[in-house]
Amino acid sequence: MVQIDYMLMISRQGKVRLMRWFCPYSAKDKNKICRELTTTVLSRKTKMCNILEYQDHKVVYKRYASLYFVCGINSDANNELLTLEIIHRYVEAMDTYFNNVCELDIIFNFSKAYEILNEILICDGAITETSKHSILKTVASMDALETSDNLDQVLS
């Protein structure tokens, strides 16, 4: 299945908007990967394929509007097409959640973006929830619960 090792969201200006590491990297490695992938991914042309080899693994990326979604996957046991599909599902889920998502939504609600990612890539990126409906339902009910928590507080 898709074992995603890390997922980065990089803006066209090269800023990291979101990063999730499913493997124990050192801070130095993380910085190195971020820096190097930002430059390589941004420099690729639109007609090029979305898979590139980086160090000992593969990187699958996809651009949506001004954001690049970059996933590091283990090179020999993975389906690159599925990884692209997962990225797409993620974007779709966010699109529905934020109602036509834009980069600013993700910047200001980064924790929500993380929550949705958590629902999609359960368990260290090893398993994927594929139903957009159930993802959104869970996130929505969590939000509802949160609101009611706050309401309680207001009332008290």
């Binding site: 990291v16 090029m48 929830e129 159930s134």
Partner: protein, 941 residues
């Protein structure tokens, strides 16, 4: 903020009122501040530092809201590269809040920063246990959050502590909880495999869950687990096969295919059953990722056998379709798969060589680069010229970044493709590789290849890669040595290369081999003196080139003096003067090797000068130049030998450095005779003799000369003496390991070997070069086993390629070649050492899955194998894990930490477990007969 669920500004205000104003000031403000700092890095740094110190203060506050807020900010700042592990205890506090909002923040922060922080995790264990308790409706979500967070921070002690809770959650009535529990169990199994062993059935039963998402999660987990250790899951294959037939969800199908890929690697029997189904699936489905996965399954699951052309062609047809698609991703992955199929049997991809050629021109460099790897299987002697042409053209394309060029490639959308350096490097070495394949069997015409080689040298000079330079240099030398008929032509090509100033500067690597070739085959040259004058001008060379150049110059000189008939006396003198000047310059070189060689040659040249001065012009050149000098170099032709042969010789023989070449009396007689004839010369000869004697272990051993013979033949020994020395020399040669040729040495013993032209050497000598003398004596026919000649079908333009000679029947042969391979492997691995290692440590790989409990017979049936080999392997694993038993060991250590007195019950239960495990092994053997039967039934189906 147009979102449905995101709070509006008013909402936020309303919610925040009871908290005071700080919340609004915080995350949102932080983001805004960062954004307004914009592009100015100094200002940004200032803002970030300020935010960090603020958060540092806030996080210590007793107010949980404030704390949670600070944690969110820290999580955000972490994306800018600020470590937040120092705040782990605060995160833990936030996690323990009863509010879901805090919990979410806490678990989010924890999943970003907790990794393997054992101190915090120990404290977190109880919290996790509490959060996993199921009591009330809202708790589903709480548990969901907990489970998501949990999976990122499982360690062995934590895993063993919570696995029971997780298993009890598998029975939950909510599919969401079951799904999350299955997912979290995956991480637990990786760290604590005992949990899987003890609850195998319970876990596997989730494959038949009524909720599809739970099934999907279970299949995924099993698939991931089987990557690490497929053995325990083979018994599930009937069930999984059933699922493959019935499930119509593509996600699950892909996972099942992955799973079967892993399983069939250890259980080849599965192939018979699975392969037809996979092929069928490939035809039926319309989803590309399923097709891709099917082919992947066939290739990686070792289901494609070397002679299975039907399966291969149906896979390749699909891939061919992918390659023709407009989606670059499809093209890319199919090229990768192409390569994998080609690796199994290169013949599979033979018919697709037009496709490969087309892929070489793809818009995407990464696809091109993959296609390069395919070339090895797709080239033959017909298309090699066009392929190489395409590749070389790509080199030149880069220089034409102009407006007209935009329309050259219609598919590229008007974008000039920048070809990266790494691709060019790969390209050149691929060209070299495909050309030299099978001992140059693909080369239709060596004239062409020589042109290609010189082009490559010129083109790759600005690539600035020393590796590539060495590769090219090796190739040049190989051609020179292995293809005798091309030597005359090639040597002039090499000369143009080495006098090219740019190449000298950019790629000094090829100079070394170039000079060597010119020197070694300088007999083919006409105007050696001009060449010498040209070469001595080159001063700024690296020492390893200098040392070869020093020797090459003398060789050229020697050949020039002795080949061309009408040598002008003054010119010889002139050239010699140049040489002396050259060697003088090098005789103070800081490089030891250069210095030594130069000093030796310098002395010799001075001697030559002296003897020239003393001799009258009419008498011709002195003997020192006509006889002694050539004898340094021209005794034997160099034949290509197999890698490592020399090493074998050196280790299996001892070199006799003691016995003199001539006995005392012989030298006496020789000197006496020579003194009678020419006092001057004999003195010189003995001088040289002694010097060369000490020169014996020079690195160029192949030039080593039995001096006795040369001297003997020159200074007219008496017949008996000559015979005696001849016999002695023969004997010596037999003993000497450095002579490869066992044939008659007489051939080389010609008085003027350079004029000898061996006609029956079956060489196609180019007539236009007939003014050059070709001293090549063909490989000895007496030694057929060593030199099996390749009969070419179309011998019209193909030159003969010498095969490498080696020593037969040496037991260390394999060892040596292995050694050299190892060296290469090591080199490769060190190259990759700076790569980041993605492998995660897990304890599952070598874990013994024989269940320690006697509770159910069904379980043992499930787990036991139907193959005796596997059984043996298993037993081996069992002993291993019983010997060191790392997972349990760690449990004990941690429990000691928690509790100063060691926990006796734990170690006791461990001992009991071990005893059970051995008992179980015995029992399993008995149960095996039953399982074997049931499996036979399955495969018979």
């Amino acid at each position: 903020m147009t979102s449905l669920y995101a709070p509006s500004a008013d909402d936020v205000m309303r919610r925040l009122r009871p908290f005071g104003l700080f919340f609004e000031k915080s995350l949102k403000d932080l983001i805004k501040a960062i954004r307004s700092a914009g592009e100015n890095p100094e200002e940004l740094q200032l803002v970030l530092n300020k935010a960090l110190s603020e958060s540092r203060e806030e996080v210590g506050s007793p107010d949980l809201n404030l704390k949670a807020n600070a944690v969110v900010k820290l999580t955000y700042l972490e994306m800018y590269g600020f470590d937040m592990s120092w705040a782990n205890f605060h995160v833990l506090e936030v996690m323990s809040s009863s509010k879901l909002q805090h919990k979410r923040v806490g678990y989010l922060a924890a999943s970003q920063s907790f990794y393997k922080d054992s101190d915090v995790l120990m404290l977190a264990t109880n919290l996790l246990k509490k959060d996993l308790k199921y009591d009330g409706s809202n708790d589903i979500l709480k548990m969901g959050v907990t489970l998501s967070g949990l999976s990122t921070m499982v360690t062995t002690p934590l895993a063993s502590d919570i696995c029971d809770d997780l298993f009890s959650m598998l029975g939950s009535s909510k599919p969401y909880i079951r799904k999350k529990a299955v997912a979290a169990l995956f991480k637990v199994f990786l760290q604590y495999p005992e949990a899987l062993r003890d609850n195998f059935d319970k876990f596997v039963s989730k494959l038949e869950d009524e909720d599809l998402s739970v099934v999907s999660a279970t299949v995924s987990v099993i698939c991931e687990l089987s990557k690490k250790n497929p053995l325990p899951f083979i018994a599930l294959s009937p069930l999984l096969y059933e699922m493959l037939l019935t499930v119509d969800n593509n996600w699950i199908i892909i996972r099942l295919l992955k799973l079967f890929t892993n399983l069939s690697q250890v259980e080849p029997k599965l192939r018979v059953k699975i392969l037809p189904k996979v092929l069928e699936l490939m035809e039926v489905t319309s989803a590309t990722s399923v097709i891709y996965e099917s082919i992947n399954c066939i290739v990686k699951g070792q289901m494609l056998e070397e002679d299975d052309f039907d399966t291969a062609s149906s896979c390749l047809q699909e891939l061919n379709k992918f390659c023709n698609s407009t989606d670059p991703n499809l093209r890319y992955i199919s090229v990768v798969l192409f390569y994998k199929i080609g690796k199994i049997n290169a013949e599979f991809i033979n018919e697709f060589n037009t496709l490969v050629i087309r892929l070489l021109k793809d818009v995407d460099i990464s696809i091109r680069s993959r296609a390069l790897e395919l070339l090895e299987g797709a080239t033959n002697d017909e298309n090699i010229t066009s392929i190489v042409q395409i590749l070389i053209k790509q080199f030149i394309d880069k220089d034409m970044v102009s407006a007209t060029n935009l329309f050259r490639q219609p598919g590229s959308g008007g974008v000039e493709i920048e070809i990266p350096l790494s691709y060019k490097l790969k390209m050149v070495s691929t060209i070299l590789k495909i050309c030299s394949m099978k001992s140059y069997a693909n080369i239709p015409d060596f004239d062409w290849y020589i042109a290609v080689l010189s082009d490559l040298c010129v083109l790759s000079q600005d690539l600035n890669s020393s590796n590539l330079g060495h590769e090219l240099a090796d190739e040049i030398r190989n051609i020179m040595v292995k293809v005798p008929s091309m030597r005359p032509k090639f040597i002039s090509a090499i000369i143009t290369l080495v006098v090219n100033k740019d190449i000298c500067q950019q790629m000094p690597m090829i100079l070394r081999e170039g000079f060597w070739c010119i020197g070694e085959f300088s007999a083919l040259l006409q105007d050696g003196n001009h060449l010498i004058k040209e070469f001595v001008k080159q001063k700024r060379l690296p020492p390893d080139v200098q040392q070869v150049l020093a020797q090459a110059l003398l060789k050229i000189f020697s050949n020039w003096c002795n080949t061309s008939g009408d040598i002008i006396y003054a010119e010889v003198k002139d050239t010699l003067k140049e040489l002396v000047k050259f060697y003088e310059g090098f005789s103070t070189s800081p490089s030891f090797e250069v210095q030594e060689r130069s000093v030796e040659f310098l002395e010799f040249c001075r001697l030559c000068e002296e003897s020239l001065d003393q001799q009258e012009e009419e008498e011709g050149l002195p003997l020192l130049l006509t006889e002694v000098l050539p004898s340094f170099f021209d005794a034997y032709d160099l034949n290509p030998i197999v890698l490592g042969t020399q090493k074998k010789l050196q280790s299996s023989f001892t070199l006799d450095l003691e016995t003199p070449f001539m006995t005392e009396e012989e030298i006496e007689a020789l000197l006496a005779e020579a003194a009678g004839k020419n006092e001057e010369n004999s003195g010189l000869i003995s001088d040289i003799d002694s010097r060369l004697d000490s020169d014996e272990d020079d690195s160029l051993t192949s030039y080593m000369q039995p001096l006795a013979r040369e001297l003997g033949s020159e200074v007219k020994m008496s017949a008996e003496e000559r015979e005696y020395s001849e016999a002695k020399r023969k004997q010596e040669r037999m003993d000497n390991p450095f002579y490869l040729e066992t044939g008659e040495p007489e051939i080389i013993k010609n008085a003027s070997p350079l004029l000898d032209f061996d006609d029956d050497a079956k060489l196609s000598v180019v007539k236009s070069f007939s003014e050059l003398h070709l001293p090549y004596t063909g490989p000895k026919d007496s030694d057929e086993t060593k030199k099996k000649r390749k009969k070419k079908k179309n011998s019209r333009s193909k030159a003969q390629v010498l095969t490498e000679e080696g020593l037969p029947d040496l037991p260390r042969d394999a060892e040596l070649t292995k050694e050299s391979h190892d060296r290469i492997d090591n080199a490769i691995s060190t190259e990759n050492s700076n790569a980041i290692n993605l492998r995660m440590q897990s304890k599952l790989e070598n874990f013994d899955f024989s269940p320690p409990s006697l509770t159910s017979d069904g379980q043992s049936e499930n787990i036991s194998e139907h193959q005796p080999e596997l059984e043996k392997l298993r037993a081996k694993f069992a002993t291993n894990s019983r010997m060191d038993d790392p997972p349990e060991e760690e449990v004990v250590v941690v429990s000691k930490k928690k509790n100063p007195s060691p926990n006796p019950s734990q170690s006791l239960s461990r001992a009991r477990k071990k005893r059970r495990a051995t008992l179980k092994l015995k029992l399993m053997k008995r149960a095996k007969r039953v399982t074997a039967f049931s499996h036979k039934m399955f495969f018979a189906l």
